[in-house]
Symmetry: C2
Subunit: 367 residues, 2 copies
Amino acid sequence: MYGMSMGTRIRRSPYFEATKAAGVTSFTTYNQMLMPTSYGDPQAEYRRLTQGVAMWDVAVERQIALTGPDALRLAQAICVRDMGKVVPGQGKYVAMCDHRGVLINDPVLLLHEDGEVWLSIADSDVVLWARAVAAERYFDVEVREARIAPLAIQGPKAMEVAEALLGAWVRELKHFAFRPARVDGIEVIVARSGWSKQGGVELYLADPDRGTDLWNRVAEAGAPFEIGPGAPNPSERIESGLLSYGADTDDATTPHEVRMGKFLDLEVEADVIGLAALQREAREGARRHQIGVVFASGGPEHHDRWLRLFNDAGKVGHVTSSAPSPKMGCAIGLALVRRDVEPGTELHVELEDGRRVPVATRELPFF
Amino acid sequence: MYGMSMGTRIRRSPYFEATKAAGVTSFTTYNQMLMPTSYGDPQAEYRRLTQGVAMWDVAVERQIALTGPDALRLAQAICVRDMGKVVPGQGKYVAMCDHRGVLINDPVLLLHEDGEVWLSIADSDVVLWARAVAAERYFDVEVREARIAPLAIQGPKAMEVAEALLGAWVRELKHFAFRPARVDGIEVIVARSGWSKQGGVELYLADPDRGTDLWNRVAEAGAPFEIGPGAPNPSERIESGLLSYGADTDDATTPHEVRMGKFLDLEVEADVIGLAALQREAREGARRHQIGVVFASGGPEHHDRWLRLFNDAGKVGHVTSSAPSPKMGCAIGLALVRRDVEPGTELHVELEDGRRVPVATRELPFF
């Protein structure tokens, strides 16, 4: 594995020291910030996430805060969701699109009681986009990246840890619901969310100086459940069919192409960027769609760029991400293919070394 | 050093295989792409750059292409430069600002003969910003990230290598001038530029499949001059006072604060984003300014977040980057401090471990 250079351009998480103490071995960057990716034992990390409970430094999930009289108006312009239906305390997974209807981020939107909106973003500079739109439309709104650092507790035993940490009320939170709380005097927002399908919560820390304290408090509450450090897990997220913006999307990917159609409110009567293009696409059908691919044993452990997919007639699309699947006992991947390529078809993928190997295809999610 | 996880979200450079063969040991990410940072011998890399010649994979310097009837109109809206004075074939270093006059990127702008504009960008999603402004203003322009990959040849012997590779004409190119050329049939644009003060050129490769070919061709032409691989060099760039956007800037930094005043055309009669705020700042003076700091021996080799700076009365700013300076024989850094703090003052810096150590300050650049 190559080394990662650090410096002041790539920011540190408030949990950086805690993850170091926990034995972090590798990082990636996301939103110009370091994110731990492993603590040296990928098998144990997958097992904890899928059978026990794991804690993740996901401070890179930056919160873009919209504040002021036009906060909701701006949110309505940049999110393809009916803001009239958004309720304070209940988060929503939203598509942000450009004027062509192309996906530019897929955040969770949080509306606070005081009218402030947070976009809990994937890896692109939403703050630039939101500021440009706000200023060009003369909206009375401030757009800033808030100093909020999420820590995720994920896995089948995550809610037991959350209850030990926060109290029984936390079990009542619905999916994507959130509310403020305190952990030993540390202010957090607790959200029933996280980038896995194993369940759990995210703690949105407000005071960056309390990162180590919060990390340690979670580790203590989780000790009886054998909690351990981890990170968003490529195997689990592909098994679960979760989208990774920027990995599984390109500069032409629309929400319809990546199974986000059900998260679009196309009937909203408002000036929403990309809406007209998306309505047209809903009528005419998307150019591509996302399916799963299953490699025969000996498939790639990993690949670092899109792999071309072929049927007998020629190129039909790309494998956009892949990972070994412990549940399947082989490598699996997500693919973006021409709309006429049905799951169930056998295709061929061109590996990084040029070899072509057969893959089975199937509907997503795998599980 | 920690490991770097790879994957399809972080893109590879067309020179990736060539840099692997050349022995790359570490990377950073920049514009969601991998950039080599070292080949394992920092001293040799610094020496090559400052006394000989080095070749760098700087494909991360992405080119945002503006095409169509309103390309120049868009460039005028988003760059604080008089587009009436821009000449095809002659690049310009420009400040891009938001509506508050805050720096959001500091690209080199290239105007091509056919009217296409390229912004050779630093590390932020300029494509989102430019697309938002273009669409909100109904400009007839296409904004895209072009598949262009710069390879830099830098150092006091760089022009000898460039001449061997391209011919004697290359010596006539003025600073930031550029023109199309071919290297053994490989189409490139040759620009007299690069992120060092050691001189040289950048070759903008158009065909990503020719990365290894171009790399090898440069290595061969450079062999008599003992060319070797390298990367943008923290020590050299701080000695030379070059700005690193995102490292030396925050969400309130204006061009005036970081010595970019001379690159602003504040008299331009056009609708330029941020112009009014910058004109006001030019009249009233910037809140902060950038100076150099010199550590006593034993200063930090490196730091990963801004370090707080104090005078006897209290906090006056931050050290934003630092590195060991072979020329000075100690660590040096760039600092952003209150405007009333003059170079020459002794200050104290709070290191990452909490210790406060004295630093001398001076005007930039160091050399």
